[in-house]
Symmetry: C2
Subunit: 206 residues, 2 copies
Amino acid sequence: MTINCDEVIPARHGKAIRLRKGEAVAVVNTHGTQVVDTWAFCVEDPAHYMSMEHTRVENGRLMPAVGHMLFTNQREPILVLEEDRSPGIHDTIMAACDRWRYERLGCQEYHRNCADNLVEAMAELGVAVTEIPAPLNLFMNIPVGQDMSLTQGTPLGQPGDHVVLRAQRDCIVAFSACPQDITPINGRMPTDAHLRLFPLTIGADA
Amino acid sequence: MTINCDEVIPARHGKAIRLRKGEAVAVVNTHGTQVVDTWAFCVEDPAHYMSMEHTRVENGRLMPAVGHMLFTNQREPILVLEEDRSPGIHDTIMAACDRWRYERLGCQEYHRNCADNLVEAMAELGVAVTEIPAPLNLFMNIPVGQDMSLTQGTPLGQPGDHVVLRAQRDCIVAFSACPQDITPINGRMPTDAHLRLFPLTIGADA
């Protein structure tokens, strides 16, 4: 498969990018099985961030669909899900994995995790993150049972699946190629994912 | 109906209490139709708090059931749902209502809201809250459709329904009798709710 992208999210690591209002990023599920935890923060205030609990209320839907806005903890649009070339199953209800998650799963040594990946990726842009917001877990399959059970489902996607997120305001968007290799959510084999950037073009609605 | 309780959560207002490890509180849905947004914070660090997204992962369930722990953002047990004398339908996925919620619903003037109620209730105990965690919305009915839709459902309870929450560590538990009167989640008529406190008794597992 030819990968013709601008940025890699290395397997088990994070990556953060700056988007100006009107710019977009495609998140590519290169191998079809990788969950990509995604966050967005307003540039002027990292405490003003994309919030899954506010987005669910405003859209009246468990996960965003094409055309839905993603809202901040002040209920302002920060991104729009402009395109979704995947089965459209994403997760908004599970916390990012963190060191405590892997300790509880029995890991004796440090396990890379999405929470630390967020902190690292933001630090590379010079931004300190103290709060880990609930992420938009792109491509993550968490079936909700009639009995309210939540299952760590296997991936539903295909290589090259992607979503396009367009910025509704100047923001930093952070990603983590989830290092989870104990539950089957990444098909047990964390992989790279990729980003394709769409800078502002003349005539774009910025 | 006779109300024999220790504390009132006044309609549209908040109330916070301190619980020592082993102590418990019953949250009484006095009129059967009132949603009670609930939060918990570790006494030694208000940034270490009960987290719905972590609780869902650890329990593998959309909402807690009897015997389930409620976990913090460091995945430590902070409360246990010890008893549930209600239909067992609670919400963990919707943000607390806030002033932006009511602005988006068309309110021209300030509307009381759960986020501000939390801040007020904690301030009465001398604790400053800067972050509004996603609450445990006791007695709130948000059906999830097969199409992933989320409905603002009408209440399912009966007068006097209650749940018992027991502290797994010293904490502050905060409540808001949700002021929502535009959607039908409180039966369109916010009411009081009540708290019954269970202090430590000799022989209790503290």
